[in-house]
Symmetry: C2
Amino acid sequence: MAHNLAALQNLIDQFERIQGIGHKTAQRMAFYVLGLTENEARDFAGAIIQAHTKIKQCKICCDLAEDELCPICKSTARNKSIICVVEDPRDVAAIERTHEYNGLYHVLHGAISPMDNIGPDQIKIKELIARLADGAVEEVIMATNPTVEGEATAMYISRLLKPMGIVVSRLAYGVPVGADLEYADEVTLTRAIEGRSII
Amino acid sequence: MAHNLAALQNLIDQFERIQGIGHKTAQRMAFYVLGLTENEARDFAGAIIQAHTKIKQCKICCDLAEDELCPICKSTARNKSIICVVEDPRDVAAIERTHEYNGLYHVLHGAISPMDNIGPDQIKIKELIARLADGAVEEVIMATNPTVEGEATAMYISRLLKPMGIVVSRLAYGVPVGADLEYADEVTLTRAIEGRSII
């Protein structure tokens, strides 16, 4: 606003701090808030506080949870001999949507990235190693992102785990289903050729 | 989340209700909130409540204000014989940025749009007419948006004001400065030709 309304400017600034939200979007969101009824605004503010206080990390897999343990770690129906390691809680949700995987998860909350000063100690690798101590886990699937950082993290963890006699696997690379080969990048296509299977 | 965290889902829903915010962006914003410190989350929630309770409408021009009157209506330096009518408080900010206009404003908070059930009584036209009763205003500039609704609103108001002996003007239409003629649409170009001036 040209009028220097401190309360409005403060709200716009709050929205603008969110990664990927530009000034115009932040302004639009602030105006949305002004248009709410008093109860709606209170609910909105309450949702922020609630989410922040209620949601913790699962003591076992570090995924988000409202209790000590997340529903997957609590479940007796899941295969406890296999752990899928992901970078982010959203990745757990993505894999769960496939309904193909019945093991446990481990959320690293990041990937090793020396450029951003994130080393092995800044992500939940210690917690993963601790889970493997009792020998119940036979396989760890590395499902970190197919980026330089995700690759490096997968390599780092696999080197730690192999001496422990645990099978370490990696998600398959290849062309995405439904995509057009013409638009696949060279690296993906190279990996798809390397990983080809007999039909 | 696949895990049905009610508090997180509620926060995502809150963000998703904002016009123009999709599910992915809402999710990203909710995760941003989870990553805040407790104080930051409290500040964020507080900013929503503050903006909502502190910001009212100016009693005269209906622009946003923290006091009874907005700074422009309070100012003694502004020319009180001319009123610029806009649809939205953001339009006031846009015109103020030009530093070219020294009159007053009137914010309609919308435009007449029968399709959306918005008639003349749903926007601040009555308030505008009331401001003109004392005869101090000589000119009203219609700066509603160059859309069908903005046009209709400008026409409607100008028909109300002309019998009162007030000059009603409209912002000039034409090609935007710095734009490429090739990409101007036909309607804009037609208006630009119609409104040409001798140089």
